[in-house]
């Protein structure tokens, strides 16, 4: 049994509208780093909310570590297991002191005060925000706020964290900070689901799932997915810039062995071509 198993999920926000999710099946293993791609309105944010029982599917089932999201008694256990980090860092912070905000989750779970203190310190150190613990959130940069929001989820000791476009409202520095934190989580054995429309972020994942109008278009390793440039283009989805360049060069008759995904790979690709 996989860590997360979603089977044939169908969902619509109201009855007249067409399904936002139209038969999505997804399996995520423990410790995986999965990127979920797709353009606006393809249902990826809806899918994120399905994974921690914020929304329940109309049809199909989602099972997380043998817990079905439909079982209302397990809702809070599921939300503790699968943390969700949202897009706007400002609207996720509850308290006006950083450490109090991070303590919010464990406080809700009824954890012992001394244990909360320990978890808060640990979580803040994990996201590299420990020295800011007594600051006010509105004095921090966007990237720092988002890291505090991640710490708030970490303090609940989840085994999986779902990120719903965590970098969409950040500047390039903030984006880099958050991606670094995501890698830290992964190295600690936490399963990561990253929803994004930045291709260079998706490339860093172990597995990429592409969604389009409520269905899964294709999935696989970043190499496998981004090699299908034609398919992605047909659904007006981007590919990483390096891949785009290589694709255009191939279009004018270059031979290639492997599609480059990052700038470095692209450089060696071009070197290989020019030699």
């Amino acid at each position: 049994m996989s860590f997360i198993t979603a089977e044939n999920i169908k969902f619509s926000y109201d009855e007249e509208n067409k399904n936002v999710l139209d038969g999505v099946s997804l399996k995520i293993e423990k410790g995986d780093f999965v990127a979920l791609l797709g353009h606006n309105g393809c249902g990826k944010s809806t899918m994120a909310k399905m994974l921690n029982a914020m929304l329940l599917p109309d049809e199909g089932t989602i099972v997380i570590e043998n817990m079905s999201t439909k079982d209302e008694e397990l809702t809070f256990e599921i939300r503790r297991t699968v943390g969700l980090v949202l897009q706007n860092p400002d609207n996720q912070l509850v308290a006006s002191v950083i450490e109090e905000d991070v303590a919010f989750g464990p406080e809700n779970l009824g954890v012992e005060p001394s244990e909360i203190r320990k978890r808060v310190d640990e979580a803040l150190k994990a996201v590299d925000m420990y020295e800011y613990r007594t600051h006010a959130p509105h004095k921090l940069s966007g990237g720092q706020k988002q890291r505090v929001a991640i710490a708030g989820i970490l303090a609940m000791q989840p085994s999986c964290v779902v990120f719903d476009e965590p970098t969409a409202m950040l500047d390039p520095n903030g984006r880099e900070e958050v991606m670094k934190t995501i890698h830290t989580l992964k190295s600690r054995g936490i399963t990561v689901v990253l929803i994004t429309h930045y291709m260079n972020e998706a490339v860093q994942a172990d597995r990429v799932v592409v969604m389009d109008s409520g269905k899964i278009l294709t999935e696989g390793t970043p190499k496998e997915v981004f090699s299908q440039v034609n398919l992605l283009k047909k659904h007006s989805l981007d590919v990483p810039q390096a891949t785009e360049l290589a694709y255009k060069l191939i279009g004018v008759g270059l031979r290639y062995t492997e599609m480059p995904l990052t700038a470095e790979e692209c450089v060696s690709f071009l070197e290989g071509v020019l030699r």
Partner: protein, 270 residues
Amino acid sequence: MIRDITLGQFVPGKGIIHRMDPRVKILLLIAFIVFIFCTFNFVSLGVCAAAVLFVIFLSDVPFKLYLKSLKVIILIIIITSILNIFYGSGTPIFELGFLKITLSGIYRAIFVSVRIICLILISSCLTFTTSPTDLTDAIERLMKPLKVFHIKVHEIAMMMTIALRFVPTLLEETDKIMSAQKARGADMESGGIIKKIKAMTPVLIPLFVSAFRRAYELAMAMECRCYRGGNGRTRMKILHMKPLDFGCVGFAAALLAGIIVCNLILPAVI
């Protein structure tokens, strides 16, 4: 700019009053307000005023700030003392038509203004030395017994916390919206008060819409973090009464005793 405004005018510091348990501070403030209205002669009033000055001296907050807080209410002090001068009974010292000033009226005016000044100084001392979070925290804990009357103490405290958290965020947003509207030619500076208030409409509407959107998102984020009201919730910070707090309670008790003794020995003047 606008985002530098802090609520509750907390002044960070490490003085004795800063280190006190906020619950004790609130309770002692209430006690002191009662004390100051139990002073019936000049000596007991003087004892109270001296106690206030002593607390201010201990508070590790520049005295200038206290003067600033008094400046706001100076008009109220003047008006109430003038009214009180004419309010007294007994033989008039000075008469002007139906207005007459008596000795007891003058005493009354002095008492009222000293009491108001003491009140403002001591409550400023509370807000200067206690951070807003500590204040809401203390209020939540102090109001806990009210749960018996089905008052939603936790919910009230949560609302206060969130309100405090979002004051700077919304101020910043107001700033942004105002700049955006000005950039499109909105005129917010000229004209009389009515015109200025009307000019605020294009600022307030987007602000409200966005506040509701924030509220929706925040509610979702809170649910994601397993929030389900006050039941079964624990707190990270536990407030402990320290020897310092007992000392302060002792100080307040001594003050009360002093006032009672003064009231008993010396004749009341009002």
